[in-house]
């Protein structure tokens, strides 16, 4: 983790903006895919790759690297865009998303793209694998951290809670889960489809340390994550409250953007808005 200076924060905000633009471009090129979740997690991914995680884009298999698992594989565009913008591969490759022969599969596959820690898409499976990695690290005295990004709706999966139980049993303080709490899923609001509240209390009851923050505020998220990773003897969860579609006016807060891409005209507007936001960030910085 690096000290966050004002200049560093501005840099991260610009990176998050780059990540969002990459998401829009790749989704437009793909003609299918998910928009709202990737956009709302862009700030978290910029914070992870740009500040919080120990990693080397030129050595994706470095044994001491922190592991970042994306449990909700359908928001892969944000991971791909973050990886590209932080130097794992050229940003032009983002335009191959979901196309035949691409390394950027519709749902991420570890074997195809170095730096993707596991294959995901079927929901509710990431934390369970993260528990295994964190336990393996403890067994071998390795000090890397395991970060698992999950959606809120995948907390409707039974396996996820098996993982929550197991993480607590083995006191995996080297495991940090991040929940994209955007309240949306394919069929509507999470609280209509299958209520998750009281959300934080559930984790507390399972003996996890619980943190909440604005997932679209990079500074706040980084501060929260640092506090979380100081915890001893317990795994931690950060409930990152996010606005679905964050950064694109007509997508923000609209669940219908969960699983569809923008068309050419919509993408143009999105990129125009993001470019204007980028100028503001630069001016403020």
């Amino acid at each position: 983790m690096q000290t966050l200076t004002p200049a560093g924060l501005t840099e991260l905000k610009l990176k998050a903006n780059d990540v969002r633009q990459g998401i829009i471009r790749s989704l437009l090129a793909a003609g299918s895919g998910h928009s709202a979740g990737p956009l709302d997690m862009s700030d978290v991914f910029a914070a992870l790759y740009g500040n919080l995680m120990r990693h080397d884009p030129h050595a994706p298999e470095w044994p001491q690297r922190d592991r970042l698992l994306l449990s909700c594989g359908h928001i892969a565009p944000v991971r791909y865009s973050a990886m590209a913008n932080f130097g794992y591969f050229p940003v032009e490759e983002l335009l191959t998303l979901r196309k035949f022969g691409t390394r950027l599969q519709g749902h991420p596959e570890r074997v195809r793209l170095p730096g993707v820690e596991t294959t995901s898409g079927p929901l509710g499976e990431g934390l369970a694998q993260g528990v295994g990695m964190a336990l393996g690290a403890k067994m071998d005295g390795k000090d890397f951290r395991v970060w698992v990004v999950t959606s809120d709706a995948e907390h409707q999966c039974g396996l996820h809670w098996e993982a929550v139980l197991t993480g607590a049993k083995f006191e995996l303080d080297n495991l940090t889960a991040i929940v994209d709490r955007n309240f949306i899923q394919i069929d509507g609001s999470t609280e209509d489809v299958m209520p998750l509240e009281p959300f934080a209390e559930k984790y507390r009851a399972f003996n996890w340390e619980v943190f909440e923050c604005d997932g679209n505020d990079i500074e706040e998220f980084i501060a929260t994550a640092r506090e979380a990773t100081e915890c001893k003897g317990k795994p931690q969860v950060i409930i990152a409250n996010t606005v679905p579609g964050k950064g694109v006016s007509y997508m923000e807060g609209d669940y219908t953007w969960h699983g569809k891409p923008p068309n050419a005209q919509q993408a143009e507007q999105a990129l125009r808005e993001l470019e204007a936001a980028r100028k503001e960030i630069a001016a403020d910085g």
């Binding site: 592991r67 596959e109 570890r110 074997v111 820690e117 596991t118 294959t119 995901s120 898409g121 079927p122 499976e125 369970a128 694998q129 993260g130 528990v131 295994g132 990695m133 964190a134 336990l135 393996g136 690290a137 067994m139 071998d140 390795k142 039974g158 396996l159 098996e162 993982a163 139980l165 197991t166 049993k169």
Partner: protein, 337 residues
């Protein structure tokens, strides 16, 4: 054996089989798994045993005592078993995960497909209590579809050893071999027909009895029934059967299967599993493409099991020596017609 009994044939001699024609030692195949795992854990400290509340019955108990630092208990959560093992394998461990076959891979199939196979992780599943020979526990606990659901997954290795001695060898061999794997074995005591000297190689079928009239291709504990049936066919009908121990369902030894069909002209497959989709189905896939020949399938005929004595259930569901004899007679007749 009474004096004057003819010696076993050359194939059995080559394979160092015991003389199975009289009283044969009975040991559960799961015991062989337990012994193999203890040895494998001593050879490699990165090898782990992960259990979902069935340590005694899956024979993980000995491993737990011998290698406590390599043993993990996670309670009744079979999907977790697979997913967590995937994570451990990703950081360099070799996890063996054990439950009843009905629950793992029965309950955890999608995790097996995604996390073990598509994701290419070095996780090994021990599927215990497979087949109707689980006995009194009844249909809920009798996995007779597991070979089918595992053999259709790319990258997967599927091994069904014939007795406890071979199960031990299979556990050791799979531990040393990289890749997602499934080892299937049973609960009940069954005949020990191989010895420490019997060779074992994953992917290499074994001829346990010579013969050129009908090839009986079997796996699991029913290999013994196939040998008994073959002896009866020889004495009662003059039909000489080749008996093949086809322990590796995937990758199957195609050359051995085609060779047996070419030599005999008719085939009987024998497995403690649904006829649909199992080892016999794979034999049929191979032969229909490479050497079409009459095939009779011995297995469960699209039904569920039930409570009962293990051997009584084997008979009732048509997998006893009598059923194999009848199937071989039908195959032989079809060959002639």
């Amino acid at each position: 054996m009474a004096s004057g009994t003819p010696t076993l044939d050359a194939a059995a001699e080559t394979m160092h089989l015991v003389d199975y024609r009289g009283d044969v030692k009975q040991v559960p195949t799961r015991n062989g798994f337990g012994e193999g795992l203890i040895e494998a854990g001593a050879r490699n400290r990165d090898l782990l045993g992960i259990c979902a509340d069935l340590s005694e019955s899956t024979r993980f108990e000995g491993f737990r005592k011998a290698h406590p630092a390599q043993y993990i208990e996670i309670g009744v959560s079979e999907q977790m078993l697979v997913a967590m093992a995937g994570g451990l394998a990703a950081v360099g461990k070799i996890p063996w995960i054990a439950s009843y076959a009905m629950f793992n891979p029965g309950r955890s199939w999608e995790q097996v497909r995604t996390i073990m196979a598509l994701n290419e992780t070095n996780v090994k599943i021990a599927g215990a209590h497979a087949g109707v020979s689980v006995g009194p526990d009844g249909a809920t606990h009798q996995a007779i579809e597991d070979i089918a659901i595992m053999r259709v997954i790319p990258h997967m290795t599927v091994v069904v050893p014939c007795d406890s001695v071979q199960t031990k060898k299979a556990a050791l061999a799979l531990s040393d071999r990289w890749g997602p794997s499934y080892l299937r074995f049973g609960r009940e005591k069954s005949a020990v027909i191989t010895t420490d000297e019997t060779p074992f190689e994953i992917g290499k079928a074994q001829t346990f009895r010579e013969g050129s009239d009908v090839a009986i291709v079997a796996c699991g504990i029913l290999v013994y029934n196939a040998l008994i049936a073959a002896d009866r066919l020889a004495s009662e009908d003059g039909i000489e059967c080749r008996v093949v121990n086809n322990h590796t369902v995937k990758p199957m030894d195609e050359a051995a299967i085609v060779g047996a069909a070419q030599a005999c002209g008719a085939v009987v497959t024998v497995e403690e599993h649904q006829k649909a989709g199992g080892m016999g189905s794979r034999v049929a896939e191979i032969l229909s493409a490479k050497f079409p020949a009459p095939i009779e399938f011995v297995g469960v005929d699209d039904r569920f099991g039930q409570s009962g004595d293990p051997m009584e259930l084997i008979e009732y569901y048509g997998m006893g020596a009598d059923a194999i004899v009848e199937a071989a007679r039908r195959a032989h007749k079809r060959k002639r017609s």
